[in-house]
């Protein structure tokens, strides 16, 4: 077990009240497993993973619960210890490659900086390693790319450079926060291939955050669907796509246009919009938008329950 998150809660104190961004999230991650995390904007996907990275720097944030990495508790770990893990054993790829690299240093320098932050090796050795890494992420001319500044590379190239950077210390856990969202489709496919290949060669476990069901169906071993700061359904890819249980998951899958057969005139959409985290509805957060809600949904919050395939829904529990 690489990562074990139990009952994680992240809340932010704001002038308008307490924002419960994450409200009791639990999940496990095995070695070299890819976990897809799906949900709308504001569902808490990114915040939960930033908490894992220890990157929530807001002084008004409260983090409760337990995050164990290889059995070691990360919540409350001193900053210095956490820094030793970050970039070294746990690496992260960000959403927007355009702004993820410091504009005033070359790509090679920035990758070498990370290697030298965690390994006691010479600058030239680090640079040799950078060249290997850039070759590994399919840069046609890695030696030349090293001396490029971020603005001289295309979006896809920058994302490759960011991935090379994330891999530079052979992390056991890779957190990817919508790494393909800002890229166009052909480039996306290349990045997904790369993640798959790297999982095979580096044996890293990957948490892949996305709002794109298509990406999840291609890449993930297991899937976790989030809504309003809670996990509403989890299961293997096959279970989730062939037998979606939670009405929210079903609605998400229903909004993907079919590749074969007759195309609907209008794609079905989920009515309404995600609730404000400041004023969550009583009972199930999805209740007001749910096509099958009934009395219990208005008062109690459904639990996810145990098992590999589980959904937090009273209807599912009833059936």
């Amino acid at each position: 077990m690489i990562l074990s998150v139990r009952d994680l809660r992240v809340s932010f104190r704001t002038n308008d009240g307490l924002v419960r961004a994450i409200d009791g999230v639990s999940f496990d991650l095995e070695e070299s497993e890819i976990l897809g995390v799906v949900g709308e904007s504001g569902s808490g996907k990114t915040v939960s993973l930033l908490a894992v990275m220890g990157l929530i720097t807001d002084p008004n944030a409260d983090i409760e619960g337990s995050i164990r990495y290889k059995g070691r508790e990360l919540v409350g770990l001193p900053a210095r210890e956490l820094r030793r893990l970050r970039g070294n054993e746990i690496a992260m790829i960000f959403q927007d490659p355009m702004t993820a690299l410091t504009p005033v240093y070359t790509v090679g320098w920035q990758i070498a900086e990370q290697i030298r932050a965690h390994r006691n090796i010479s600058k030239s050795k680090a640079m040799d390693r950078v060249e290997e890494l850039l070759a590994e992420v399919n840069f046609p001319n890695p030696h030349e790319a090293m001396s490029r500044y971020p603005h001289q590379l295309s979006g896809g190239m920058r994302q490759r450079a960011v991935i090379a950077m994330a891999l530079s210390c052979n992390p056991a856990l890779l957190v990817a926060d919508e790494p393909t969202t800002a890229l166009d489709v052909t480039v996306q496919a290349g990045i997904l291939d790369l993640v798959r290949k790297l999982r095979a060669t580096h044996k890293s476990a990957v948490v892949f955050i996305t709002h794109d069901m298509g990406v999840v169906s291609e890449l993930a071993d297991r899937v976790m669907v989030m809504y309003a700061g809670r996990v509403v359904e989890r299961g293997s890819r096959a279970e989730l796509f062939s037998d979606p249980r939670h009405p929210y998951t079903r609605a998400l899958l229903g909004s993907i246009p079919p590749l074969t057969g007759e195309k609907p005139r209008r794609l079905p959409a989920i009515p309404g919009s995600p609730p404000s985290l400041l004023r969550l509805p009583q009972g199930c957060a999805f209740g007001p938008r749910c096509p099958v809600h009934y009395e219990p949904c208005a008062t109690g919050k459904p639990d996810l329950g145990g098992g590999t395939h589980a959904a937090a829904c009273f209807r599912v529990a009833q059936a």
Partner: protein
């Protein structure tokens, strides 16, 4: 790169030419005023007036007058202000330059170093009591007028506490040449440097703090944290460099203006006969040739300072190198 430098240099010359033409036209071709009478001074005899008119070419077309004026400033260097009974303008300016440069350079080093330290410390300890204290001191520094501060400094170091151990080293007001007496040069300038720098330390410290705090919100700072770098390294290597751009812009403007004569108040308070004092005296007497020369000199420094700043931008930010 070399082409860019040459092009920038060409632009510089062009701007300076434009400035010289405008300054010339303002002072010597304004309708209704006879520049010969101004230069000759009050109650000048018709012979003197005629000599001035001939020497400056005021009896000939405008472009000839301009060329003659530029020749007197830059080629022969024998531009003479009649008001001052034949004082040569160019040597007077050249004598004042080292005084002003000594004052402004020293103060600039002081304010750049101190304000960078203050900006970094305040940004790193944002919202702490230290940050608040530094920013309050900065505001205090900005609020104190330099002529008042200078007089207070003089009161303390020259009279009230001059005999105490703390200030007995302070020499009397005035300027000593660096080549004659390096130690005296340094000691006479210490108090003026501090006085001039305090205002700018306040401004620059606050500007840099704001710029760093803004940069710390950038995505690439989060990347740097995710890499496992220390907060110190993130601040100094990743946040500071991009934050310095606003700082450098301000510096170019302020430094050029100060060298060009804006240090007048400091110069007057400390009895330093620099460019500011020279310009001020020339304006009092309406000494046109002297004004012409000092304005040309000042514009030259502003233009040069701006060109240097453009190069510093290119060093700081590789994104500006390609275009």
């Amino acid at each position: 790169m070399i082409y860019a430098i040459l092009r920038r240099f060409g632009q510089m010359l062009f701007v300076m030419f434009g400035i010289s033409v405008i300054v010339f036209l303002i002072f010597f071709a304004t309708p209704g005023a006879d520049p010969a009478a101004r230069i000759a001074g009050r109650n000048a005899s018709p012979e003197v007036l005629e000599a001035v008119r001939h020497s400056f070419g005021f009896d000939r077309p405008l472009y000839v007058q301009y060329v003659k004026m530029m020749e007197k400033i830059f080629v022969t260097g024998d531009l003479t202000s009649f008001v001052n009974r034949g004082w040569k303008v160019v040597p007077a300016v050249l004598d004042s330059i080292p005084v002003t440069l000594s004052l402004v350079f020293g103060a600039a080093i002081l304010w750049v170093v101190v304000s960078i330290v203050i900006g970094i410390v305040a940004a790193a300890t944002r919202d702490s009591w230290l940050d608040k204290l530094l920013m309050a001191l900065g505001l205090l520094g900005i609020s104190m007028p330099v002529y008042w501060l200078g007089e207070v400094m003089n009161l303390i170091t020259q009279s009230r506490y001059h005999d105490s151990w703390a200030f007995s080293w302070v020499p009397p007001l005035g300027y000593k040449n660096f080549s004659d007496d390096p130690k005296g040069w340094f000691l006479t300038l210490v108090i003026p440097w501090i006085t001039l720098a305090i205002l700018y330390i306040g401004i620059y410290g606050r500007v840099l703090r704001a710029a760093i705090i803004e940069t710390l919100q950038e995505d690439y700072i989060r990347t740097a944290r995710a890499k496992g770098l220390s907060e110190t390294r993130i601040l100094l290597r990743h946040a500071l460099r991009t934050s310095l751009i606003a700082f450098v812009t301000l510096f170019g403007l302020d430094f050029g203006a100060l060298v060009g004569g804006s240090a007048l108040l400091t110069e007057v308070v400390f009895g330093l006969h620099g460019i500011g004092k020279l310009t001020y005296d020339a304006l009092q007497n309406l000494d046109l040739p002297m004004i012409m020369a000092t304005v040309m000199y000042a514009s030259m420094f502003v233009v040069i300072a701006n060109a240097v700043i453009d190069f510093v931008y290119i060093l700081l930010d590789p994104r500006l190198r390609t275009s």
